[in-house]
Symmetry: C4
Subunit: 310 residues, 4 copies
């Protein structure tokens, strides 16, 4: 079986050759600090991904621009065929006529089809029939992307700002907390925590998966404290606060869950650097009973109190 | 490996600090008895989830209201531009004219486009061309949500009202029954049963996963009796009925399966409290052969008869 | 861990109480021989499943019928409001007028909107505006279901008609063959074979999962012979042909795979009864090299030749 | 458990009976070198798969052709009913009239519905009402397929052109590299490497799964060197370059990952033959730090340097 506890990761991106203190491979919001270069245009091309992930303002901008350009294009075609091949044009100047052709194109491409202006003769009709077909396909895309973007499950899982080293049973544990502030149920939640650290007298880094008290929960209605017991098998065993800074630790948490409302898997990730870890603390219980329900106080996710380490 | 048999769950929501008898974290219908507070507006926001999960009456109400408001908005715009910029308006009073603009807007936004009323001049045409584009996107959403809601797999798996303690081989077992009353095939069904109980002389609760005779079936055409053998490894070993009440047991069953017709995973869950457990019973076999088929009598899921415990 | 090798299945539907020879719980085409009765109407209701799984002829019938009935309904409403509230009606008799209202309704509900006939006055316009909204939602459903049905991955995996008992290494094996005759790639194929047999002097049946030489393949481009080695751990060990008939064996094979073109999981299943098992045979290799490609002869899936058992 | 390390694969397609040097079952681009023959028409039929996987040019060709043929068909029907049953026809010759009926059909089937030309009388209206219904269903298909094709996740994962035999810790390893040149995140990436080799003095081949240093990564932001350590358990142990050619090795790598933007699983595969393996090389680290980010140089995926084997 794959021995993945302790390897040389000189090229993985997480155990990369050298980085100075303060560098991190994963930002706290889950984005990676990695950029890819020297990629051919065709390799890079992925319209779907871009259209689904770009900002809403960009998306609407592209839709509006395409709508405008396509209508301009077809208005030009109708003008070239000859404006007299469209009935119901009232405009006298070329500009007015072009605009009416433009709006006729918009009415065709959206299948609105008022009919005030309509095509006359073989050529104009062929163009209009083609334009309505293309319009249907183009709008299938635009509306599909719109719905795809709207229905994309956005995981808003909150990780606690800080992780803590807390007493755990008769030893200590590395812990952080999670909460799902939203109404949608997250089921079959799995988490995986690793740590990358500089190796002694080397630029290379080691990368370890950390054993957790519990690495999955069937359902996640409340808060979850993720715990890595620092027992003698732990790579953190007998290391102190200075060691974490010395070895430039980076703890990376990766979570995946099934989002019941969208029927899709959601992924979430975050990272903790030594300056984001507090020693000798314990998370404060952030829920209370009220009227037969358990009230989980999401805003108190970071609340902790002093606790003496083992 | 994660040791998750027996932990302190002071903040999980299932082993929460204190609850009086009668409290349960999971209701029998699968809903959680947990509420989240102190959430920022942006964290809470999830239009998609709300629109997909709200009642049908609310959904249609929102669609109808939005339709009405958008048309009112555009009717106002057309009125401001000047009603004379719409051909075919017959109304004489401002109200009549506004209504005709309203219906023109409805015809535009749905791409119906009768053409009896049509835009005239640059401004009205721009507004109409914009409205048809927005209409297509809005209706992509409404129709996508409608289809998404309609096609959402609803698991109607029935859990038996009561669980039983029954003789099982030479020991006893904690059992309940499941049936899928619908025609859709449920495949790769997995179930997971846990029990949470009050700890002696403490407000904290323990949470145990229970070993099952079988925790998954490839297909689920009939009834399934889920059995937890109460052997010496069981947290229920040598406990009697009074202990279940004393320790305020809550058995939580979580099920997931693949729904063949929708091609999605479905989840179902239920819970059993001590007053919902019958001792010294055995489920009655609820199927019989008839005309070469096996007839499963779904209504008899709860039927049991007296049986002497081991 | 769940001990599921050998259980009492008196109510699972596969090891049901009594069935005479010739009965089978799973037909060779994958359908179950099980019917559920005594289900409340609401429990049974699942429009989506019915609409997606019914025959194509039934589906088109329902769509056409609904289209007809809805238009009749709205034609009636327009007639009640008064035909004079629709412009462009030419018909003289009530029947002709009703038909024109009917076609006007069809043009509205499909958002076709010729405009030859158009609504006049507040009431007719309100009804038409409502009808176009409802039409959009209804057609979202009809077209969504149509596409959903069309894109549903249909697994056409062929199981060999007969299973064989063949020599395998130095023992014997229970084997059958599979082929995917289609162009779509099936990936991550998993199979699971079980056997149910009558217990001695009892009406109850035992149900065993059979160990396989290989229970999954990453990809399935060719033919796959599924092998259960009949070693000393096998429930088939030292049983002969008469035993299979005596104990009324039923072998059930359940397969699942990922269909690359539809991006969904597909499931397939079949069953083998004693009369469908041939002893002392070996499958004939049904592929040959030709022009640098491997040609797999799908039609020869069942071909076998005599082979002496160990 | 299934013993799948070393089997006879005389019919799997990967260990097939005989192939001369140079033959491979999997091409480097992931396509299989296998063809299926002797398939009944019904078994082969899978419209959806064909429509989703065909080239874009073929797809648009089919859509355009169907559009043309359907309109021709309905134009014929309208002509047979009698052109006088369509208002607004200006054409004098039968050809002109047929063309106007053709364009009327196109306006109906796309629900454009200008209304310049409109049906008159019962028969023409029935045909038009039917045509608009069929049009909606047909376009549901065309637009659904269009969006389905567009949103299909295309894995553009690059495998290194060559694999290498490199020093690995104190032994040697079989290695190749992977990079994802695109912006979309690939998560839960799993890889599986096998080798098929000719057996001594036989036409049959053996097929082995190779143990990997790491067979999965949670996330794949950078480059990944996949390593099979050639230890004493490896089927490659103590074999040299000539052995690989002698036994006509084929290494097959199968990868699957979850594509975050499309919410679907993606699969990728490639193959390495002996002439594509370089001995005594080591991959050059292809990333560097720049402005607080890690820059991964995708174009250098194949870069390696000489390294002395253990």
């Amino acid at each position: 079986m794959a021995k993945h506890k302790k390897e040389d990761f000189e090229d993985f991106g997480l155990g990369e050759k050298s980085y100075s203190k303060g560098y991190r491979s994963l930002n706290k919001d889950g984005s990676f600090n990695i950029e890819k270069t020297n990629i051919s245009f065709l390799e890079r091309l992925n319209f779907f991904h871009s259209l689904v992930t770009m900002k809403w303002s960009h998306f609407f901008g592209i839709v509006a621009l395409t709508y405008f350009l396509v209508n301009t294009f077809f208005a030009t075609i109708y003008s070239l065929i000859g404006i007299e091949h469209l009935t119901g044009i009232h405009g006298l100047t070329p500009f007015e006529q072009f605009m009416e052709a433009f709006f006729f194109s918009a009415q065709t491409i959206t299948t609105l089809g008022y009919g005030q202006v309509a095509p006359l003769g073989l050529l104009a009709n062929i163009v209009a029939a083609t334009e309505s077909l293309l319009g249907l396909l183009f709008f299938a895309l635009a509306t599909g992307l719109f719905y795809g973007r709207f229905s994309k499950p956005i995981s808003k899982i909150k990780f606690s700002q800080k992780a803590i080293i807390a007493p755990y049973q008769d030893i200590n544990g590395f812990m952080f907390r999670l909460v799902n502030p939203q109404k949608n149920e997250l089921l079959d939640v799995e988490i995986n925590v690793s740590v990358s650290m500089k190796r002694k007298n080397s630029e290379l880094r080691d990368f370890h998966i950390l054993d957790l008290e519990r690495d999955n929960v069937r359902f996640f209605p409340s808060m979850w404290t993720v715990v890595h017991p620092i027992d003698k098998n732990s790579p953190l065993y007998e290391l102190n606060k200075e060691d974490y800074f010395e070895k430039d630790f980076e703890f990376i948490a990766m979570l995946k869950a099934f989002d019941e409302s969208s029927g899709q898997m959601v992924y979430s990730r975050s990272s903790y650097k030594p300056e984001e870890i507090e020693w000798g603390q314990k998370f404060v219980y952030a829920a209370k009973r009220h009227n037969g329900k358990l009230l989980v106080d999401v805003g108190r996710i970071n609340e902790s109190k002093k606790a003496e380490l083992n």
